[in-house]
């Protein structure tokens, strides 16, 4: 994988490793993110889904802690045997190696930073929302009040100043790790080995490198099926559908032209030329 060098331009390529086996669901990352980036409140909505009233990342939520409840399962979630077991995982923009939003953006507002992150420049975005439908993870969203699209900036401003992103800094259990991407991948593999030795055979790294997304700059360690965390097993960049799209357009145009030509050829002789209306 060329992930470590492809965007670096001499700077180090950075990444998040979010280890859900260490997450305690305190939401400090959500608060820290809003605090540093000045993101507005989400409103007071009761979802009823465990202790999560936010639901998903969006224009006003750049870090989001998922509360995954299961039927009682000893050794999972740290609860008593008869209680619902709990898993937490802090979700964030994945900063894909091949990013759908970046490819879709017609204005050039979305760029790849020198740290390898994907950044929406708010002073250029004109709110066309093409990126919204191009994101295979449902991260970026248009703020209806503001008109522009927003998502996690990978704390570009903090990284420029040599600081750790706000969420990673605030995380009390180091569930959110931040660092150089190749080193973090190594850390993730070692952590998986450790978890397996402790009997957690269902622990795995979520970092789909074999799909058209070609790997993430924010990867995760989760237990069990990643789908229960809304992590798609096979995320695809919409560019893979583009050939199909052009084929459809070509077919449509051919039909249009064909129908128009047919209409002219089929018209009865008498109606073809109206008397005295030539520009000649």
């Amino acid at each position: 994988m060329s992930a470590g060098v492809s965007h670096s331009n001499g700077k180090r390529t950075t990444a998040f490793l979010t280890d859900s086996t260490l997450c305690i669901g305190c939401k400090a990352c959500e608060v820290a993110c809003k605090e540093w980036n000045g993101v507005e409140a989400d409103g007071f909505n009761w979802s009823g889904f465990s202790y999560d009233n936010t639901g998903a990342v969006g224009h006003s939520t750049w870090r989001h802690v998922k509360f995954v409840e299961h039927t009682p399962q000893p050794g999972f979630g740290g609860n008593a045997g008869e209680l619902q077991s709990w898993g937490f995982s802090s979700d964030v923009c994945k900063h894909c190696e091949v990013a759908g939003c970046l490819e879709a953006c017609p204005t050039g507002s979305i760029v790849r930073t020198e740290f390898g992150g994907v950044y929406v420049q708010p002073e250029i975005c004109n709110g066309c929302s093409y990126c919204v439908v191009a994101c295979p993870f449902g991260v970026v969203q248009r703020n209806p009040a503001d008109g522009r699209a927003f998502k996690c900036t990978f704390c570009y401003d903090r990284q420029k100043a040599g600081l750790v992103p706000a969420c990673a800094k605030a995380c009390p259990t180091e569930s959110i790790k931040f660092g150089e991407i190749d080193e973090l991948r190594q850390v993730a593999h070692e952590r998986i080995q450790e978890l397996r030795q402790r009997g957690m055979d269902d622990a795995r790294i979520y970092d789909p490198q074999e799909t058209s997304v070609q790997g993430l700059h924010a990867f995760f360690i989760v237990r069990g099926d990643p789908r229960q965390y809304n992590l798609p097993p096979k995320p695809e960049v919409p560019t893979v559908y583009v050939k199909q799209g052009y084929r459809g357009v070509a077919l449509g145009s051919a039909m249009l032209v064909g129908a128009a030509v047919l209409a002219f050829l089929a018209s009865p002789k008498g109606t073809r030329r109206r008397a005295g209306r030539s520009w000649q």
């Binding site: 998903a56 204005t107 975005c125 709110g127 919204v132 191009a134 789908r227 249009l256």
Partner: protein, 263 residues
């Protein structure tokens, strides 16, 4: 104590459904003397569990397209304009019905202008529409092909129009309409291309090139494929959840049934 010391409570607009639920609870309490818990369950209960079959509580993974109704209208008007242009071209080629060619041209011109307005109206920041007219795209060969390709095509078309002597092209070249056509052709194709190539990235020159591009007809062409290029038509697809298993869609219905049987 002044009012400022009171805690601030978020203002909530009453919802019809919830108000109806309160009345339902009252009616039950009056008639039976007791109320079961069902009346105060929130919409959507009982909740799906997070599972590989439902995803994360059945919450949609993908974000919905945030396009307004002006976008389908833009497609229709733009498509009608394009079709009219084709019909006009065939009319010219056959040189049999100049009146029809003229009608088709008017339709094409009006439709192209109306669809531009519709497209701009949909933007979250319409005043920044100019940002859309980027010709060079670092990562997209397709967009480069469309941007540069259409600019070159406009250039060629302009020269082609001037050098050919057919009668059918005369209305395009004669009088005021001729000059409008010429100006539009130059402004949409060669002018912005030259400005961008020679301007060397200056912000002001780029802006002029973009303004020039608007007045031409560059923009009716490239929205189509891009719109079909969404991540997936269905939020379930990336999670590979079969349609009949998505509990999120079923639960509200089941809840409705429950309410009915309880009443």
């Amino acid at each position: 104590m002044s009012n400022e010391a009171l805690p601030r409570i978020p203002q909530r607009i009453p919802e019809v459904d919830r108000e109806a639920q309160l009345l339902e609870i009252r009616r039950k309490a009056e008639s039976r003397g007791r109320v079961e818990g069902i009346g105060i369950r929130p919409p959507g209960a009982p909740f799906p569990q997070a599972s590989p079959q439902t995803g994360y509580y059945g919450i949609h993974l993908l974000k919905e397209p945030q396009w307004k109704p002006t976008i389908p209208l833009y497609f229709f008007v733009g498509g009608a304009a394009g079709s009219a242009a084709v019909i006009g071209a065939v009319c010219d080629w056959q040189d049999r019905d100049p009146e029809m060619a003229q009608h088709a041209r008017w339709l094409a011109m009006g439709g192209a202008m109306a669809s531009t307005a519709l497209l701009i109206e949909d933007l979250g920041r319409p005043s920044r529409f100019l940002n859309m007219l980027r010709v060079f795209h670092e990562d997209s060969r397709a967009l480069n092909l469309l941007g540069i390709g259409s600019a070159l095509w406009e250039t060629w078309e302009g020269f082609h129009l001037e050098t050919r002597q057919e009668a059918a092209l005369k209305p395009l070249k004669r009088g005021v309409s001729g000059w409008i056509t010429r100006t539009g052709g130059v402004m949409s194709g060669p002018l912005p291309l030259c400005l961008r190539v020679l301007g060397g990235g200056s912000q002001r020159i780029r802006r002029w090139a973009a303004i020039s591009g608007i007045l031409g007809s560059l923009l009716t062409r490239y929205g189509w494929v891009r719109a079909g290029r969404s991540s997936a038509q269905d939020w379930r697809l990336p999670l590979q959840i079969p349609e009949e298993q998505s509990a999120a869609d079923k639960e509200p219905e089941a809840f409705g049934q429950e309410l009915k049987s309880a009443a």
